[in-house]
């Protein structure tokens, strides 16, 4: 294609400081050198190359330590002011491989949640930091809210069911839950970050080591995409959790959703940007009507325009969200709620826009877009998987309810 993606899909560069830009450049170099320019090799040797590249990214480049506080040996990007930089990184990694992007973003979310607590616990912080600073790739699994089962009354987070129960014990809490569905990595997580609720329905977030007693992992789940993320269902059978590993500050779950919407949005837009690159090359090498280059046919050009427009606008929207999060000066409930609502709206719009772009692009590529050889179908499957799991339940309906509550003060929905 021969053009710089940042010159095409412009964004407010002032959101990134020089340090952030240098890390983003480094990751782009890795992505270009190791994956983007070696798609065929990467696909054919996926099982071992995925693990190899993940190690390079997490350990050699060090992005696993991105949000570990600087005083504990990390990059110190553990503040909302770094939201634009983290978004840029999620995008770069997603451009290479969405599974790597999603897995990379999860530890960032963990530390962001831990360090935002007003009375954050130094022991917990340093224990987590020490584990995530080791020379081994770590994988947290996130269990958020989702659909409940008919006949079961569950505590709710804005209508979504919280399926893990936390009962207070003398030393902390005991967790119980059946057939819990992590966003990713249920089968391989070494730490679970779990949204749970106590007997009064008060929600909180618990950190549970992957080898804790009472955790049962189900068989591997085969999914449309993101299969490298190794998901499976989880049962918690009286799993003990120390008091300091439960975060119960108001607004925690909203913030968790906000970060997940931003970062997974970045992963999807990154995947879409590589989709764009592949499509652009395609449109210059194929003809229609007996010799007209695809991109020079007005109808095909309008499809190509749709693809570019959706990706460009999705990136801008996410940058707006990241900028809004970075600029937040307080953590008052109304600020958190505002960010949560905007993250839901923008996250939803971004995933929808990116899927639309990819569907349009595949229409133009025809059968070739469908063959694994051309690599675009993997992006299409991965992003659809991200879109579906991000919704949690019932498509956009819960997000519409969040939006209606915010803008219209609805109280019954």
């Amino acid at each position: 294609m021969g053009r710089n993606l940042d010159d095409l899909f412009v964004y407010p560069k002032q959101l990134l400081d020089e340090e952030s830009l240098s890390v983003v450049r480094l990751v782009r170099q890795w992505s270009d050198r190791e994956i983007v320019t070696k798609r065929m090799e990467y696909r054919e040797g996926y099982e071992h190359l995925f693990a190899e590249q993940r190690k390079k990214l997490c350990i050699d480049i060090g992005i696993q330590k991105l949000t570990i506080p600087a005083d504990l040996g990390g990059f110190g990007w553990n503040s909302p002011s770094k939201a634009p930089a983290m978004l840029a990184l999620a995008l770069e990694i997603g451009r290479a491989d969405a599974s790597l992007g999603v897995l990379s973003a999860m530890p960032w979310v963990l530390f962001l949640m831990v360090t935002r607590q007003r009375d954050h616990n130094a022991k917990q912080r340093s224990a987590l930091a020490s584990v995530y600073s080791e020379e081994a790739v770590r994988t947290p699994g996130l269990i958020l809210t989702g659909p409940g089962l008919k006949g079961m009354q569950t505590p709710l987070f804005w209508g979504r069911s919280i399926l893990t129960r936390a009962e207070q014990s003398e030393t902390g809490f005991t967790l119980n839950g059946k057939d819990l569905r992590p966003l990713i990595a249920g089968g391989v997580a070494d730490l679970f970050c779990v949204v749970c609720a106590d007997g009064n329905g008060k929600p909180s977030i618990a950190f549970v080591p992957g080898d804790a007693k009472g955790i049962k992992r189900g068989p591997s789940i085969i999914m449309t995409g993101l299969n490298a993320c190794g998901n499976s269902q989880i049962d918690f059978n009286s799993v003990p959790v120390a008091m300091e590993n439960v975060l119960d500050q108001e607004g925690n779950i909203e913030e968790l959703h906000t970060w997940v919407s931003l970062l997974l949005g970045g992963v999807s837009v990154g995947a879409a940007m590589n989709f764009f690159e592949l499509l652009a090359d395609w449109s210059e090498s194929r003809t229609i009507k007996g010799g007209v280059m695809l991109k020079e046919n007005a109808l095909c050009a309008s499809v190509l325009a749709d693809v570019a427009e959706e990706i460009a606008l999705a990136r801008l929207l996410l940058c707006d969200l990241a900028g809004m999060m970075a600029a937040q000066a307080d953590s008052r409930p109304e600020t958190i709620r505002c960010n949560f609502t905007y993250a839901g709206m923008i996250g939803h719009r971004v995933q929808k826009g990116v899927m639309y772009a990819m569907n349009r692009g595949l229409e133009l590529m025809g059968s070739a877009g469908y063959a694994k050889e051309w690599h675009v179908e993997k992006h299409w499957r991965d992003v659809k998987t991200i879109q579906s799991i991000l919704y949690g339940v019932a498509a956009e309906a819960p997000i519409k309810m969040d939006t209606a509550r915010f803008f219209y003060n609805c109280t019954e929905i």
Partner: protein, 424 residues
Amino acid sequence: MMHFDEFSRPEEYISPFDRHFRRLLRKTIEESIMPFRRQYDEDWKDHHLIEPAFDKIMVGLGLQKGLFPMEYGGMGLAQSDYFFRAGYMVCEELGRADTGFAVALGVTYWPLLVISVAPYVNERLIAEFAPMFCNSNKAVFAANAMTEPQGGSDIENLGLLGGKTIRTTARLEGDEWVINGHKLWPTNSGGVSKLFGVPCTTKPGSDNPKDFAFIYVPADLPGVTQGGAYEKAGMAADKNGDIWFEDVRVPSWYRAHGPGKDAEAFYQLIPFGQVMSCAFLTGAMMNLYERLYEFVSTRTYNNSPLKENDAIAGIIGRIAGDIDICRILGYESAMIGDRRNKPYGKPLISEDVVGRVRNIKDFVSDRAVDCFGKAMDVLGLYGADRDWDIEKHWRDIKIVQLWMGGKQLCQMEAARYFFNCETL
């Protein structure tokens, strides 16, 4: 629960074949395909699981001989006045389980209908190929080797380009055609087919339909080379690959009909392919309804079943509405095909039929892709799970929207027909 059979279709369009055969076909599909379909993606290359099921459908139920006249042991569907509707029923039932199966069967009919459907009937070729399909106790497939490496959809755009972009050549030497060329992507390639229908040109670069030739090539002839199956996003039961023809010699009478007539008969493939595409899609959509019904009845939001929430009901209501409309349109497209021999019908090769049927297929494809995408989102965390089947259909049906020239060709056909565009 409303049964999925209750999605609308005009009662008067239901063929006699439908009344007798659908129940038996469904039972066989539910026993031999549906319990195994979640494992088909991993079976894309070897077809260890897929092949036995094909034997049950193609041989056990006799569907591979469907087009051939009864005197050869066939079912005589091509000679009936409900050929399109019968095909629709079969492909819809198969599509409910696995669109890859439906495509493999439908495409086996494809090259054969060039010589079987009036007014383009070639008795000698029917007699020649009938034993291959009617006397076998293993599933036998045929393929239409159409697409070429450059300008893939151009061959399907025969009305506009007249075959001038075809690079596969047929040269008459004595009483044999000598064929050279390279084809991509035919359904039932990748080593599956025993017989290819090959669109060729007798004069490269010519847009005169008389220079278009449709020639049958048995797959085991010297000079025919098939590549391995492509790995794809879905459609594991349908193998696709490269085919090379290098100085392949076939008898001169393996040409379907001769100069001019070949192009006309070949053009019949387009409406048949579009109508069956609708059938694959509405079949899959009916299964979507079954699976979605189960999910929205058993999972909750706000501690009430999803289907009882007004906002969610708005989404799933639209999905069901779309399935209903698409099925009506699909059957209407089949009836357009079957009206061809009646006073108020139009020839299959007419712009009228091709334009309208392409239009319906384009609409139904768009709705199907949208409905499956939405249904996956309704399932949320579970939407991408193989176990809920919807994601498999979502992957499988995307290619239906893309093939046969894809959306853009459908749009151009519609514009040309409805607005008399002269330069498109």
